[in-house]
Symmetry: C2
Subunit: 591 residues, 2 copies
């Protein structure tokens, strides 16, 4: 049967561009994007993308050129998800919470040719460009070039915020609506470049192929059972793994994108109620924003909202409160390298009969592989053989499939380290339950090995989080003369009814742990901090805590609550730490 | 970014085999197949497929070898959809309604290496093998080889029905459950070979790639909005485009396959009620079986059943009756070359407000392209430019995308005729409505061109079908001295309340048409036949009617109902004609 070669009719490269082209034809008059007073149909969105793509071509943007953007969840950022690849180029969405130095590093490393900047981020972008320019002057031989800047205005933009001559809406306006989209010759061609936030190392540029983006998009719609005509609230930043592929997915489903600039309670409630939102993705921290909204910020929610979330599993009580408001939560696990979620906790009808606490336990699992992953496994850290499906034996989670990244841009070493023996190593540690559902236990480097036993820091943390007075918790390994390592817990407390925090003692926490954990897992030490150190994207910086825990070894006997001051000092010294809940949207374990 | 080559972890060939492997892991204990007293879980199904694949390898079946099968919708046929490709081979499911000569032709053309035969079809297979053997003896230089036969026993198989030594269940039993599935090196490799029934020409062998099968499967689940845990009734033959890909789809969704040997009212009601069936596919003729069931054959249907159907759009009254029973119908259009449905009439929420007659009109449309088709268009037959989206201008429906067939096996001429200028030409004629939904009007060769006006024979037939006394109708072109062509209708009648049929006259039908159609579309002649001539798969043989209509030219003035006898004679002379409703399951316009 080898006499049947591929032809243009039956072998068409897989690309998400197909989704918007099809949406313009088959969902022509349906609303595509809603943003305050702005409304587009799919026909209009496609038209605008074609115009923008043609304008990019006029600016000499071509195949494999990088187009960077610094913007919140506004229509422009949505449109660029199609317009940039339609010009043959690669979209690089930059995390808006990074500092100028990080932004400059990304612009330099990616060799961005165009840099779109939302008016709100003009000061940050200016500073980043200043640093980039200084760097170029210092080492003229370096690859750094200064990208052409395009500002994105908004209805409420103050006038005079300019950074060059070009403006987004002008580019759209003067573009050619009859532009013919650049041919994707090979579905392996790059479509997006996303920099990881890097808890331990320098940011890495994750490259997605058109094929990977296309397949992941289909998988996530399927895994979440998203039907036709979804109304999707952009509570997850689009710059995060391209909005877990739902940027492209809304076009595939002919859905409506409800854009919001800020993830505030009032904006979320208002948009959910007004547009009858059916779906949203977010980090668990957003649940707190929703639950703690003031009466005047709330609106009646009349239709069920499906919520896809990642990161630390929310406690049962919180899930119940969300359900009562009309939010139905599905848990997922993923990472930038897997184009967003790789596992989704697919709900099974029989579980509806279980008590709510058991349901919450199941919902806390990360679940089963999305369809376009060829394989997911949990392998023994030493021998790399599969662990038994007993829900207990821990191993490293490994992935294989066409929805994974191509690799790290300009980093062959990190790429070859990530792909090993035909698998992508996630660096995350988990177990498989007898029913085939996976549960993440830890980052492999965060596992504590005490007397030969693996202790999951995440498991220990989840017990600590259930303590009524604990606000934040992180557990790391502390050297131990007998056991090699033992767990050391860092916690911050909620205020008590008197507004104080100092009525809880280390011994209280330890005896609470003894009641709720096997003896060997109980922290040998509990350290109280006002707040835990975090990266600019809200991830807890365990390496700082680990460094701190190492210093405890010698004085183990003396370690009590009186040491609190010392730890506080280190915390204060950490950079980029911010407790603003909006920033914590990104505090997913990996997503 | 070209320094990031594909590797085994991030570039895995797309193949439906992944679905069953994944199902065994993530839906391990869920029911996969139910057939009377037999029940399997996904773990068991995967185990059985591995065993069968290893047995096929022991029988020297290897890459690109064809494995043919003649069987109804039983578990064995389901399992072969995975086991055969897992051995690296190509599955050829043969239409069980073909005669021995056609079966022999397929076995010879496909060079089948193994031939699985359900006990019920042993007589047919024996005769086909006898013909094949005779053919081989006559021309020993021909490629015909006699395949190895494996009989599939069933619980009710009479003993002694043997055709060689091998039996299906033995092959499964003695197979190796630790068999490692043959590597699919290239997703373009063939997975299935399906012969078209060929209304006008010799059967053509349509070759599907693993890639095409994989993508079509995902598209159909998405297009039909099929959620998790579907319970799927096998009312559509699996030998028909591999069950419109739902053979593979059930594994992708972790669904339950409810197998039935016969599509009888009693078996369908019993299984739907017992297993709470959620989904089924079928031809509209099956609606009649369901609606006309006798009281003792019926069961209460307590859960909604989603029905995907193709072919002639069912009238509103029939849709309403089905809805009242709990069946919700979605219309689709496809063809063997497109791996089953290519268009699905995606329902839009706003249509729920329309009167039921308007809803039925929309449901009669074939709808919008499935997601993995890169493009669908309707092109002017002459100029091959796109027709306007006005719901009126007819053109040929053309398709493009990776879910299309590779081509016709050993038929480069037919393959290159089918693929033209980067499109697959369906040979079907349709219109696009302003909202982007397509509606099929005719086969291109069935369009009647009368005085320069295109007349859709399907449109005319649908009006005839709405006449209370018409059972079957077909319209073809008849030569006309002034207009070039004019429509000639052939109809068969339902019995009246007195058991007779001869109270309806040609003039009644013509005046009925005048009331319901533009003047130029009214048939110039109506011919009554006791039954219309059909192929063995239940498709009306228009070429026979066309030949008959040609003879009418000379004697046009004399043509009245007195000619009925003549037509009857021609009809009686046709072969393979059968009015058994089970056979008519395949009487879809193209599917």
């Amino acid at each position: 049967m080898d006499q049947l070669p591929k032809c243009a009719a039956n072998y068409v490269p897989l690309t998400p561009i197909t989704f918007v082209k099809r949406a313009a034809l088959v969902y022509a008059t349906r609303p595509s994007v809603i943003y305050e007073g702005t409304r587009f149909t799919w026909q209009q969105t496609y038209d605008r993308c074609l115009r923008l793509a043609s304008s990019l071509r006029s600016l000499n943007v071509g195949k494999n050129d990088v187009v960077s953007v610094l913007a919140p969840n506004i229509p422009a950022l949505y449109e660029m998800h199609f317009a940039v690849p339609m010009a043959g180029a690669v979209l690089n969405t930059i995390n808006t919470r990074l500092d100028a130095k990080n932004v400059a590093t990304i612009l330099s490393h990616s060799e961005a040719k165009i840099f779109f900047v939302d008016y709100q981020y003009v000061p940050l972008a200016s500073e980043a460009l200043r640093l980039l320019l200084a760097d170029t002057k210092q080492s003229p031989a370096s690859e750094s070039t200064i990208p052409l800047v395009v500002v994105i205005d908004d209805v409420d933009s103050p006038t005079g915020v300019r950074l060059g001559e070009l403006e987004y809406e002008q580019l759209v306006h003067k573009g050619n609506p009859n532009y013919v989209s650049a041919d994707i010759e090979d579905e392996w061609d790059p479509i997006a470049l996303n920099y990881t936030s890097g808890t331990t190392s320098a940011p890495k540029g994750v490259v997605y192929s058109h094929r990977g983006a296309y397949l992941s998009t289909l998988s996530l719609i399927l895994g979440w059972e998203m039907g036709n005509e979804p109304v999707y609230l952009w509570s997850l930043p689009m710059f995060h793994c391209n909005g877990w592929t739902f940027t492209w997915g809304m076009a595939a489903r002919g859905g409506t994108n409800v854009c919001i600039r800020n993830t505030t309670a009032i904006d979320m409630y208002r948009n959910i109620s007004l547009h009858k939102v059916t779906h949203m993705c977010c980090a668990p921290i957003v649940f707190n924003i929703i639950l703690e909204a003031k009466p005047h910020e709330r609106r009646q929610i009349t239709t069920a909202v499906q919520v896809l979330t990642g990161g630390a599993p929310p406690p049962a009580s919180l899930l119940e409160k969300m359900e009562l408001l009309g939010f139905h939560i599905t848990h997922a696990y993923g990472l930038t390298e897997a184009t967003g979620p790789a596992l989704v906790c697919e709900w099974q009808a029989k579980w509806n009969q279980l008590p709510s606490n058991d349901q919450a336990k199941i919902k806390a699992r990360q679940g089963v592989s999305i369809l376009t992953l060829a394989d997911v496994d949990v392998k023994d850290l030493g021998t790399m053989t599969s662990v038994p499906r007993d829900g207990m034996t821990m191993g490293e989670i490994v992935l294989r499939g066409s929805s994974l990244m191509r690799g790290y841009y300009k980093d062959p070493e990190a790429t070859s380290k990530a792909f090993k023996n035909g698998w992508f190593l996630t660096g995350d540690v988990g177990v498989i339950h007898p029913d085939g559902y996976l549960e993440i236990k830890d980052r492999s480097k965060d596992v504590i090995i005490s007397g030969g036993e693996n202790i999951s820091s995440v498991e220990l943390e989840s017990v600590l989080y259930r303590h009524p007075r604990i606000l934040e918790a992180a557990v790391v390994a502390m050297p131990h003369p007998v056991w090699g390592e033992s767990p050391c817990a860092f916690v911050s407390l909620k205020q008590n009814s008197n507004g104080g925090k100092d009525d809880v003692k280390e011994s209280d926490i330890i005896s609470y742990c003894r009641k709720n954990l096997p003896h060997y897992m109980v922290p040998k030490k509990v350290e109280f901090l006002p707040e835990l150190p975090k990266t600019s994207t809200g991830k807890i910086q365990k390496f700082q805590l680990r460094a701190l825990a190492k210093t405890y070894k010698a004085s183990e006997k003396n370690m009590g609550s009186k040491n609190r001051g010392q730890a506080t000092k280190v915390n204060k010294g950490s950079k980029g730490y911010n407790s603003n809940p909006h920033e914590q949207i990104l505090a997913l374990s990996r997503l």
